[in-house]
Amino acid sequence: MPICPVCKLREADTTLVEFVEGRIKKRLLCSICAEKEADGVRSIIITSTEVRRKGKKCPVCGTSLYEFRRSFLMGCPTCYDIFRDELTEILKKVVGRESFLGERPQKDSEIIPLLQERENLMKRLNEAIKKEEFEEAAKLRDEIKKIEEQLQWFQKN
């Protein structure tokens, strides 16, 4: 399928028929540009038979509803907005939930040094075990445990 000459981004799957100075002018555009360019009474938007047959289509990656239903794969983040209603229906039926129960983890810098520290201690612990320094190993284990408790605290908060 050709690319839309206006946005040069999406597939041109829609014909825009315009009446300019008594003459008919046809242009092949993507559905979004066709909507934008259409001028009320003087133009008609004709959706191609392929689009009608395969259902609506994601304007960014070209995935059609038909393809989504067949593969259960989305092509890009925008697909999730285009097929939101259909997906919500499926989710309700299959898992009895329609939205995420968790939250987005916060960006915070406090946790990074903790993780680095834990990595260091783990390395030292492995060394100690290799050299059979068990007293040292026990100490290191305690320290790692403390850090893991802190990490768990972050997890919960």
Binding site: L73, M74, T88, S99, F100, G102, P105, L151
Partner: protein, 351 residues
């Protein structure tokens, strides 16, 4: 390039497993970069740009000091098969490796697949007795990723993944189980009941669509849109119930069918010790029975690593590489498999 020594090492996530039904936990976190099409819709050039950017950032984090890095598109199909047999790549990547890169540590416990079905898939593997640690690592990794990248996140669906089955946390919880007593005592219906109660899918050890052989199964929790803490707690509970079922089944075997069990175990051991030709499935069934014999104390004196050694090295591509076979020759392959298992039983080339 794949380091040559890879074909002679047992991945740590398998080697550390000594006994019990949970061989390995496999936790996977999927993430996609903000405002970018998912890998399947990208050109190879666009995928390679993502690989460069993501590798550069990942290599700065505390987890990835000196990772092994392999660009799958540059490999010949035999090496891709080696990676596949070691579970470093999926069947999907095996068939379309262009623009895919993997990073992993030398223990093969931590793995990042770039441009699998999602831009980043982080896989953490731990033996069954390290469950808590696996989850702490996962949480820590999720935090780290969040600090360094901007991801696609949807107000309704959470993290966006190319397949909606991971929506929410972008999380997939899996485990590789070895549950011979459940199969011997025909308790499989009870097993399937537990699995369906917890919304868990089950396959053979090769994953989706594979047959169950050697009492080994791969299970996958399918509880999308939940908080990861809740999913994990549920999964742990399910594993606890399966553990329970396997140990009850073992008691039944030991008390009510002791002679039959002994017979099966010792016959299996005798076959492994004297077989000249062994197919993959046949070998797996026999190995599993012998392993049960060791865990129940019927036999001793067998090298403790023999099961995991055989499991990894008896696979077709590993055999071919190890013995330098030029073309796949099923008969020769089966001969070499029988030889290799004999060696593993005697504990030769231990290390």
């Amino acid at each position: 390039m794949v380091p040559e020594k890879l074909i002679n090492t047992i991945p740590q996530w398998l080697k550390e497993w000594k006994e019990g039904p949970v061989v390995t936990l496999i936790l996977q976190l999927s993430r996609n970069l903000k405002d970018k099409k998912f890998p399947a819709k990208l050109s190879i050039g666009e995928r390679e740009e993502i690989v460069t950017m993501v590798c550069e950032e990942l290599e700065k984090t505390p987890f990835w000091q000196t990772p092994l890095k392999i660009k799958c598109g540059e490999l010949t199909s035999d090496w891709l098969k080696i990676l596949f047999e070691r579970k470093l790549i999926t069947r999907y990547i095996l068939n379309s490796p262009q623009g895919v890169c993997i990073l992993f540590d030398k223990e093969e416990k931590l793995l990042a697949r770039i441009n699998d079905r999602d831009h980043i898939r982080l896989v953490i593997r731990e033996t069954g007795n390290n469950m808590e640690q696996a989850f702490t690592n996962l949480t820590a990794s999720a935090y780290i990723l969040e600090q360094i990248f901007e991801f696609s996140f949807h107000e309704q669906f959470g993290y966006l993944t190319s397949s909606p089955v991971y929506l929410g946390e972008g999380l997939s919880l899996n485990a590789l189980l070895h549950i011979p007593a459940i199969f011997f005592t025909r308790q499989t219906e009870k097993l399937f009941k537990i699995l369906s109660d917890y919304n868990i899918l089950v396959w053979g050890m090769e994953g989706e669509g594979s047959d169950i052989t050697g009492s080994m199964v791969l299970i996958k929790e399918r509880d999308l849109l939940m908080r990861k803490e809740d999913s994990f707690a549920r999964f742990q509970k399910a594993l606890g119930e399966i553990n329970e079922l396997e140990s009850t089944s073992r008691s039944i075997l030991m008390v009510q069918h002791q002679k039959e069990l002994e017979d099966r175990v010792l016959k299996s051991l005798a076959i492994l010790k004297s077989a000249v030709i062994l197919g993959l499935k046949e070998a797996l069934e026999l190995l599993s029975t012998v392993k049960l014999g060791i865990e129940t104390g019927i036999i001793d004196g067998v090298s403790p690593n023999f099961f995991t050694r055989s499991l990894i090295f008896m696979q077709p591509e590993h055999l071919r590489k190890k013995f330098g076979l030029p073309q796949l020759d099923p008969l020769r392959e089966s001969e070499l498999r029988a030889e290799l298992i004999k060696e593993a039983l005697e504990g030769e080339h231990e290390g």
